[in-house]
Subunit: 463 residues, 2 copies
């Protein structure tokens, strides 16, 4: 039992020493590895949860990783592989001896094995599958027939079900006498004679009810079945929206084939968050453990898009070369207009992307939201227009430049509000993830509009 | 039983008609409200979960909201208030008649009432508290003595515990005969004679074991207690990291005072993510339902910071007015260098902020991560330097400008990698949320460095 007490109160909430895997512990483990002291290594690793050990392997360099795994030997647990970031999972599996790997994967539940092997290349996948017992291997292979990122990949097959006409006494007697119950389960799923799930009863309710009470009378108010092909992101959304603890998974004939529990849904929700935030920044799939070359490769595509859009903005500026030569103050001030537009657009964009992900921005309120963003752009544009007019007058000593930059600021912030909210909505309607690169498109709009409005107005009114 | 079947498969995953609250349903509900047809309203609202009704109230305008609530009358359920976004919660509570409000809150669990009243102003808070039964009111008031965003506010007080020496038979007999069990519980918490929690046993394990088996022999491998003052973000992290389903909460003497379940932790995880993504964009606390004025107010602060930093960048440009007058191509090209730097910095920043939040970036690997970001900046800098050198030569017909922009690009992308990862790390060490405005600081650095490097090199080598 790996008990840990996380209890130093909020005043130390950012103190990483609170966690079993603190800097000192990592240093001691590395020392044990360096000196080849297996007893010290095992005693240092003993309080760590598999998730902490996975974090440890991610944080140390690949030389230490190899040495640690060699020294740790047969202690290596299958759960560590499950917890490991995909970026180093293949490397770690490659470092395990065939015996250690076989032991490790045999301990895992079938849904964890599925999660493990689905991203591996053929050779490693075959090694792991051949290490499993026949029944587990068949279960894993069947799960792999479902689409990637589907409910079928996420579910566990072990379910506890009861005919819908049972009463509490039947349920208790059944559970008390059945050969084997799943390690973790929270509901008994009521099914009709064709194996269609019709309701969930919590174990707590069963325990608290009289033997003759019908299970039907104890079902949860909120009950959702999930089609086996359903996208895992939608599954996570449902669990979060409806506070589900577990939900039955059904095949195309609505027959019960498995169950998804909230802990798996929570992990998916966390991954979806990561995906959103990374895509908004144009970072791709990257993790901390990717090599320099891999990381560079992941980031180049969006930088390349950004270069093209930046050149587009430059082409706008190039149209006004003559004006700039005459009033070099324009070159000094023009990045301010563009930068404010980019910032305001990012604000609108982030609110819209998040609201689309949580289904708070829908067909019912999209026009109201767009209108609000335009109005906010107008108000904030006026506020900063006034500020910049004063800056322009003070800095360059003439009212005309102040008027021009003020007008450009209002125009650009209104456009920022409109583009920042409309572009993700349109992408979503087209079936494209609105987080994906919309930042680049939106700031292109504000750069182009910002430069064009400012330099164009200057060309008309100053020259 | 509100059964909903979310099962049209991934091919329609972005189809919002999949959800009970689709555009057509909203339109029919608004029509029922407009025509005052209460029966139609009730039949349309019947399949909706409280979370869906809350979403509905958020999506419609305030006039429709008022009319809907008036027509809906006593059907209004307390859970709707719990699910409602804070931005309109006060408004909705104000629209309920005292009787409806009292009925609504009396149905809620005490932890949900805490969540509801903690953000209300005094008058509304007092109204709700006075509607509760005495025992509930005392429980709520005691929870409110814990710090905001602490485990104490999140936990429920109803726990199912057992002395550590009990066996399975004792546990089953106890649960079968106790007056009342909590609606939702997943574990029996084993406690020692001083009420210190020592282990968790799942109900499933109890059901599957022989009567004479000691509960001690069935405890979960992973067991964590949570101090009542612990920050809720840390609680969510623990649940996600260690796959907890429920965890006992203890006071400063380590005595059991409540329990937190995974569904509450999942909601917190979702809120923390929202906070991160909003702070990264400098949006503050804003939601879709805030008014134009409120939204404007939330966004002005970071725009103001951005204006100051943009002016800083302009001051750099102003130092090179003479050079720009001579080579106006510099004004055309300089935004490209700044934009590429800002984009690369945002990539590094996002990876660092996310890794800090998930505790993947720690004292043990910070130097390796910084070094990797610098190297990635170098490589990507060289790639885009080569591209821009060619663009510069082709566009402006001379190699010198190409060399200058290439060198500035490399410098700025290296600085972007360094600043993008170092600034959030330093903010985190200082106890400041690294998501908070770090984007503005980082892009200020890349703007200033980008303009200075490009114009400075031009001044030296072109003039």
């Amino acid at each position: 039992m790996a008990e840990q007490d996380y209890d130093r109160g909020p005043e130390s909430e950012r103190d990483e020493d609170d966690y079993p895997l603190n800097k000192q512990a990592v240093a001691r483990i590395i020392e044990a590895v360096d000196t080849g002291d297996r007893d010290l290594l095992l005693s240092e690793m003993e309080p760590l949860h598999a998730a902490d050990i996975a974090d440890l392997l991610e944080q140390i360099n690949s030389g230490d990783r190899r040495a640690l795994i060699a020294l740790y030997g047969r202690e290596f647990d299958g759960d560590i592989l499950s917890e490991l970031d995909e970026s180093i999972r293949e490397e770690v599996i490659g470092l395990l001896t065939p015996e250690v790997l076989a032991d490790a994967v045999r301990d895992l539940d079938s849904d964890d094995v599925v999660d493990l092997v689905e991203d591996l290349e053929g050779g490693q996948q075959a090694t792991i599958l051949s290490a499993l017992e026949d029944s587990d291997r068949i279960a894993v292979q069947q799960s792999l027939t479902y689409p990637e990122y589907s409910a079928g990949r996420l579910m566990q097959r072990e379910v506890v079900m009861a005919p819908e006409h049972w009463c509490v006494g039947d349920a208790i007697d059944y559970m008390r006498h059945v050969e084997e119950l799943p390690e973790q389960f929270y509901h008994m799923i009521l099914v009709d004679p064709r194996l269609h799930p019709v309701g969930n009863v919590t174990l707590g309710r069963i325990m608290g009810a009289r033997r003759e009470t019908a299970l039907k009378d104890l079902v949860e108010d909120t009950f959702h079945t999930i089609r086996v092909t359903r996208d895992e992101g939608d599954v996570a959304y449902m669990f979060n929206q409806y506070h589900l603890i577990s939900a039955p998974v059904v095949d195309e004939d609505d027959r019960l084939v498995g169950v998804i529990t909230i802990d798996d849904a929570m992990a998916v929700l966390d991954e979806e968050h990561e995906e959103d935030i990374m895509r908004l920044a144009g970072v791709g799939e990257g993790g901390l453990n990717d090599s320099v070359i891999e990381t560079s490769k992941q980031r180049v595509p969006w930088l390349a898009v950004n270069l093209l859009t930046a050149i587009l903005a430059s082409l706008v500026i190039a149209q006004f070369e003559a004006t700039i030569t005459q009033f070099v103050a324009l070159a000094v001030l023009m990045p301010i207009v563009a930068s404010m537009g980019g910032n305001a657009a990012t604000q609108s964009l982030t609110v819209a992307v998040r609201a689309l992900a949580t289904k708070d921005l829908t067909g019912s309120n999209v026009w109201r939201v767009l209108w609000r963003e335009i109005m906010v752009g107008m108000i904030n544009g006026l506020i900063f227009a006034a500020t910049m007019a004063i800056v322009g007058i003070v800095w360059f000593g003439g009212p005309e430049l102040g008027y021009v930059i003020a007008a450009a600021m209002v125009i650009n912030l209104v456009v920022a509000g409109l583009a920042g909210s409309a572009i993700p909505v349109v992408m979503d309607r087209m079936g494209i993830d609105p987080a994906l690169g919309s930042g680049t498109f939106v700031t292109t709009v504000t750069d182009v509009v910002g430069f064009f409005a400012f330099l164009g107005l200057a060309a008309v009114f100053l020259v």
